[in-house]
C-alpha cells in the first residue's frame, strides 16, 4: 500500500479533507471514504456516466479522476444538486415525467443534465441526446429522460424570467 496523501477540497459547498492512496479514484473516495454513495459505479472506465460529478464547472466521470486531483477543486455531486427546501427542476421533472425506472443511472443523468442546463438553458432535442451520449440508461429508452430535461429547461427559464 502506498503512503496516503492528504487532500483538501470543496464538495457540495462544504470544505472537506480526506486521505487517499494515489491510485484511488475520485469515485472510490466519494463512495468509500466520504460515504457519498449517490454517485454510482456502473463500469469504472468512463463509459456509463453513472458517476458523473461537476468539478470546477466541468462534467466529469468520477471514476476517471484521481482522488488527489480533487485538491483545491470545487465539486458538486448528486447529493448537492437539490436546494435544502426544494428539488432542482431536473429532479422534479424526472419525478413528474417518470424518467427513471430502476434509478441507478439517474444520479449521473441528473448531474449531467444540470451541467447541460447551466451551459445551455434552451437545448434542442438533439443537443440533449448528444450531451447524454456518455450516460447509459438500459431501462427507459431515453424518451422520458429527454422530455424531462426539456420540461426542466422550460421551468428553469420561466423561473429565471420572473
Amino acid at each position: 500500500m502506498s503512503k496516503k496523501i492528504h487532500v483538501q477540497t470543496t464538495i457540495n459547498g462544504e470544505e472537506i479533507d480526506f486521505l487517499c492512496e494515489p491510485r484511488n479514484s475520485l469515485l472510490e473516495v466519494l463512495r468509500d471514504n466520504l460515504k457519498l454513495t449517490g454517485s454510482k459505479e456502473g463500469c469504472n472506465n468512463g463509459n456509463c456516466g453513472a458517476c458523473n460529478v461537476i468539478m470546477d464547472g466541468r462534467l466529469v466521470n468520477a471514476c476517471c479522476v484521481l482522488g488527489v486531483e480533487a485538491e483545491g477543486a470545487d465539486i458538486t455531486t448528486i447529493e448537492g444538486i437539490a436546494e435544502p427546501d426544494c428539488l432542482h427542476p431536473v429532479q422534479q421533472c424526472f419525478l413528474e415525467d417518470a424518467a427513471l425506472q430502476c434509478g441507478v443511472c439517474t444520479p449521473g443523468f441528473i448531474v449531467s443534465a444540470k451541467a447541460l442546463l447551466d451551459s445551455n438553458p434552451d437545448p434542442s432535442e438533439y443537443d440533449i441526446r448528444y450531451w447524454f451520449a456518455g450516460n447509459l440508461c438500459r431501462c427507459t429508452g431515453y424518451d422520458k429522460i429527454v422530455r424531462a430535461v426539456q420540461h426542466a429547461a422550460e421551468r428553469k427559464r420561466e423561473t429565471a424570467d420572473v
Binding site: 472506465n45 424526472f94 417518470a98 441528473i110
Partner: protein
C-alpha cells in the same frame, strides 16, 4: 402523450400518474443499492477467473496469495458442499443446483472465459485483487466450442462427457453437447405444406447478447455465530436468492436471511446467483462481513447472457393469404451448463398466429460461453425475429399489406398453440388495428438524404406472462394512511403500481398507501420480479389484502357506531350506517381509534393465481440505411401493445420504450465478439454497444387495453413483450430500404454490407 388527472373507467387511482413513492430518494442519490451497503469490519472479495474458454484445471496453488498482506481467506470449489443433481425452479428458468455450484466456482474444468476459479477476501479491494494475481493455476487447454453449429459437429469436443441428451423427456445414453431436445406438434405438418401455395424457408443466426443492466452484481454477506447468514444484495427475487444460497451451502432456508436493496436493473439477469454464496462462504471462513461487487468485465464474461441461436423457419400459406403450415428448428446456446430458454422460444415462435399445422423442434446446446440466462421475454426475441421476417416475405409475394395479413391469421380467443394452451381473451387483433390506424403507418417516409435509403417495417410479438406466488400485508396507521408490505423487489415502478391497486380498493390516494419492500423474514414467500408477473400477481395480493383490511375496518367502524358490521357501507373514505346515514366515521377516525376498538388493524393476503393473460405487441419501425457504410439508424418508432389495463400509464409507456430500445440494440449493434480461442473481446460498455440517447428517436407508444380475464382490473404483464418485435421490425424495414433480407443479428454495418454483397 396524455396526462390523466383522474383514472379512467370509473377508477379513482388506477390510470392516473402519481409520483412514485420511491422517487425522491432516487433523484437525490439517497436510495441504497447493493453496492452502497457497508458494514463495520467488512472485508472485500475478488475472484480469479479463467483466462481460457475450455480447460481442465490441473492444480490450484494459493500459498503465495495467502501470504499477501491483508488476505484473510481464499476459497475454491473444494470449499463448497458437494451436491447431487437437483433441479430448482427460479421462476423464469429451471436450473440444476449442481451446475450452479460448479458455475460459481469451477470444479475440474473451466467452461468459459471468465469462469470463476477461486475467491479471495482481504482487508481492502486492492489487496484482494493483488492476491488474485498471485494464485497459480495449471490448466490443460482444450479446443473451445463457440456456436451451436460447432457444438453439433460430429467431431466437436465434448464440454461435459457426462452429459447425455434428454430427448423428448427421456434420458439417452450417448454423450453429447446436446443437453435436451423437445418437440411440439399440431395438425399434420406434411399435409399443411402440401396444401400451401407459397412456401418460404430461411435459416438465421443470432448473436449472444447481454441484459446490460447498469448496476453490476453485488453482495454483502455476514455469517453469524449461530450458523445463519444475512445477505444484502440487489436481486430480482430475495426468496430465490435465499433458496439458492441455502441449497448450495446445504443449510435450511430459515438460516438464510436476504435483505434486498434497491436494484439497478435486472431484465432476467439478476435471478441466478453468482457471487452471493461465495461471499457467504468467505464470511464464514473469516468471521467478518464480506462485500463483493463485480466489475463490468466480470458482468459480461460470467453472468447472464441471452443465448445466441441458429434457427430455421419454414412457413406455408395459401394464395388467399392464410397460413397453413409452420415449422421451426430452434437451436439455442445453453452456455457451459444446460438450461437455455429454448423452451419458451417454442412457446412464442408462432404464438401470434392461428396455424392449423405446426411442428417445432427445440434443442438446448452446450458451448463454451457463460451459462445463459433469462433476458426479457427469454427466448422469444430470437425466434420471433425469424418468424416475422419470413411472414414479411410471404406478404410481399402475395402482395398483401403486412398488418392485414397478420389480422387475417392473428391468434384470438379460443385458438390453441402448438405447445398446448388455448387462448382466453387476448388483444392481438386490436394491436394490429391500432397500428393500422396510427398516423405513423400511413405517414410518408420522407426523402432520404443522398447516399441513404429509407424503409418501414412492422412485426409482432408474444409473451405468455407468468403468475406465481406473492404475499402482501397492509398495516393501518393512526393517521389514516396504510403501509403496504411486500416482497417484490422494485425494478421499474412496481411499488407504485401495486400500491395504486390497494389504494383503489381502500378509496385512498396513491400517496396514502406507503409501499415497503422487506426482507425474507418479514413477508411471506414471494417469487421473482420477472416474467412480467409483479404488477399482476403481487397486485392481486395487494387487492385481496386491501379487501381484508377494509372488512376489518368496517368491523371497527361498526363497533364505534354501535351497529352490526353488515350495516356499514364504505365510500370516499367514509364508513356510514345504511340504516342511518347520519352515523358515520371517516377512515382516518376509525384508524385513530383502533387502540380502543381491538388493537391494530392488519390486512393480509397471499396469492398463487392459476393463470395470467398473455401480452401481444405490434411495432412499426422506420430505418435509414447508409448505403456506403452499412450503418442503420432507426429514425421513427411506434410500439403498440395490449396492456390489459395500465395501472400507471407513464410506467407502462416506459416499459414499452425501454423494451423497444433494448430490442433495437439487439437488432443493430449488440453482440458478444469472441476470438477463435473463445476469449470474449468486448467485455466493456465501450465495445459492447448498447443504444445511447443519440442512437434513438423518441419512441411513440399506444396502450391498447383489452382487459385480462384473470385480474379484477384486467392487468396484463407489460414488461417483457416490447423487446420481442424490434429486431424483426427493423429487419423488415431494412428490406424495404435495401432489398436485402437479413439472416443474421446484429444488423451491424459489417453484416449489412456482407448481406448486400458489398464486402
Amino acid at each position: 402523450m396524455s396526462s390523466e388527472t383522474s383514472g379512467s373507467n370509473g377508477y379513482k387511482v388506477i390510470g392516473t400518474r402519481p409520483i412514485r413513492h420511491d422517487g425522491i430518494d432516487k433523484v437525490i442519490g439517497r436510495a441504497v443499492y447493493g453496492q452502497d451497503v457497508s458494514l463495520p469490519g467488512m472485508l472485500h472479495g475478488a475472484i480469479l477467473r479463467s483466462p481460457h474458454a475450455h480447460a481442465t484445471i490441473k492444480s490450484i496453488d494459493t500459498s503465495e496469495a495467502e501470504a499477501h498482506p491483508g488476505v484473510k481467506a481464499i476459497i475454491t470449489a473444494r470449499d463448497l458442499p458437494a451436491l447431487a443433481d437437483q433441479l430448482s425452479d427460479l421462476g423464469e428458468n429451471v436450473v440444476n443446483l449442481r451446475d450452479v455450484s460448479t458455475n460459481i466456482l469451477a470444479a475440474g474444468k473451466a467452461l468459459y472465459h471468465g469462469h470463476a476459479i477461486a475467491a479471495v477476501a482481504a482487508t481492502t479491494l486492492n489487496a484482494a485483487q493483488e492476491a488474485v494475481q498471485k494464485i497459480k493455476v495449471e490448466y490443460e487447454v482444450q479446443q473451445p466450442v463457440l456456436s451451436v453449429q460447432d457444438a453439433l459437429a460430429p467431431d466437436a469436443p465434448l464440454l461435459n462427457p457426462e452429459n447425455k441428451t434428454k430427448s423428448l423427456g427421456e434420458d439417452t445414453e450417448e454423450p453429447s453437447n446436446i443437453a435436451s431436445y423437445y418437440q411440439h406438434k399440431k395438425g399434420d405438418i406434411d399435409k399443411g405444406f402440401e396444401d400451401a401455395d407459397v412456401i418460404f424457408e430461411r435459416e438465421f443466426d443470432t448473436a449472444t447478447v447481454h441484459q446490460g443492466y447498469i448496476e453490476p452484481h453485488n453482495v454483502v454477506a455476514q455469517w453469524n455465530a449461530d450458523e445463519s447468514v444475512i445477505i444484502w444484495c440487489s436481486t430480482q427475487g430475495s426468496f430465490t436468492v435465499q433458496s439458492q444460497v441455502a441449497d448450495l451451502l446445504n443449510m435450511p432456508v430459515s438460516r438464510v436471511r436476504v435483505i434486498p436493496t434497491e436494484i439497478g436493473g435486472g431484465f432476467g439477469g439478476k435471478v441466478q446467483v453468482y457471487i452471493k454464496p461465495v461471499a457467504a462462504v468467505l464470511s464464514k471462513h473469516t468471521g467478518r462481513p464480506v462485500r463483493m461487487v463485480m466489475d463490468r468485465h466480470e458482468v459480461f464474461q460470467a453472468t447472464g447472457p441471452a443465448p445466441g441461436s441458429n434457427i430455421k423457419i419454414k412457413l406455408g400459406a395459401t394464395n388467399d393469404g392464410k397460413l397453413v403450415a409452420a415449422y421451426a428448428y430452434l437451436a439455442y446456446e445453453a452456455g457451459g451448463f444446460a438450461g437455455s430458454v429454448v423452451g419458451a422460444a417454442g412457446t412464442c415462435v408462432f404464438a401470434c398466429y392461428d396455424i392449423p399445422n405446426v411442428q417445432i423442434d427445440g434443442y438446448d446446446i452446450l458451448c463454451n460461453k457463460p451459462k445463459t440466462s433469462a433476458y426479457r421475454a427469454p427466448g422469444a426475441t430470437n425466434a420471433t425475429f425469424c418468424t416475422e421476417a419470413v411472414i414479411d416475405e410471404i406478404c410481399e409475394k402475395l402482395e398483401i399489406d403486412p398488418l392485414e395479413f397478420r389480422k387475417r391469421n392473428g391468434a384470438k380467443e379460443g385458438v390453441s398453440r402448438a405447445d398446448g394452451p388455448t387462448y382466453d381473451r387476448i388483444g392481438y387483433i386490436e394491436t394490429l388495428e391500432a397500428a393500422l390506424a396510427h398516423e405513423h403507418y400511413s405517414a410518408p417516409l420522407g426523402d432520404a438524404p443522398e447516399g441513404k435509403a429509407r424503409g418501414r417495417g412492422v412485426a409482432s410479438g408474444f409473451w405468455m406472462n407468468f403468475a406465481g406466488q406473492s404475499a402482501v400485508n397492509i398495516n393501518v396507521n393512526g393517521d389514516g394512511t396504510v403501509t403496504l408490505v411486500e416482497g417484490s423487489t422494485d425494478i421499474g415502478g412496481t411499488r407504485a403500481s401495486i400500491a395504486m391497486q390497494a389504494a383503489e380498493v381502500l378509496h385512498l390516494e396513491a400517496e396514502e398507501v406507503r409501499p415497503l419492500v422487506v426482507d425474507t423474514e418479514a413477508i411471506g414467500f414471494t417469487e421473482v420480479t420477472g416474467g412480467s408477473r409483479t404488477t399482476f400477481a403481487t397486485g392481486l395480493a395487494a387487492i385481496e389484502a386491501a379487501k381484508d383490511t377494509l372488512n376489518k375496518m368496517k368491523e371497527r367502524a361498526a363497533k364505534m357506531l354501535e351497529v352490526e358490521a353488515d350495516d356499514i357501507e364504505y365510500s370516499n373514505k367514509v364508513f356510514s350506517c345504511k340504516s342511518n346515514p347520519e352515523k358515520k366515521h371517516t377512515f382516518q377516525e376509525v384508524a385513530e381509534k383502533t387502540g380502543q376498538t381491538g388493537g391494530p388493524v392488519v390486512g393480509s393476503a397471499t396469492t398463487s393465481p392459476p393463470s395470467h393473460g398473455p401480452a401481444m405487441a405490434t411495432h412499426i419501425a422506420d430505418v435509414e440505411l447508409d448505403l456506403e457504410t452499412g450503418k442503420v439508424d432507426v429514425i421513427r418508432y411506434t410500439a403498440v401493445q395490449d396492456v390489459g389495463k395500465a395501472i400507471h400509464p407513464s410506467y407502462v409507456e416506459g416499459q414499452l420504450q425501454g423494451g423497444a430500445a433494448q430490442g433495437i440494440g439487439w437488432a443493430l449493434s449488440e453482440e458478444y465478439v469472441y476470438d477463435d480461442e473463445g476469449h470474449l473481446l468486448n467485455s466493456s460498455f465501450l465495445d459492447y454497444r448498447m443504444m445511447t440517447s443519440l442512437d434513438l428517436p423518441m419512441i411513440d407508444t399506444v396502450l391498447v387495453e383489452v382487459p385480462a380475464a384473470d385480474h379484477p382490473y384486467g392487468v396484463r404483464g407489460v414488461g417483457e413483450v416490447p423487446i420481442v418485435p424490434p429486431p424483426a421490425a427493423v429487419a423488415n424495414a431494412l428490406y424495404r430500404a435495401a432489398g436485402v433480407r437479413m439472416e443474421k443479428l446484429p444488423m451491424s454495418p459489417k453484416n449489412v454490407l456482407e448481406a448486400m454483397g458489398k464486402i
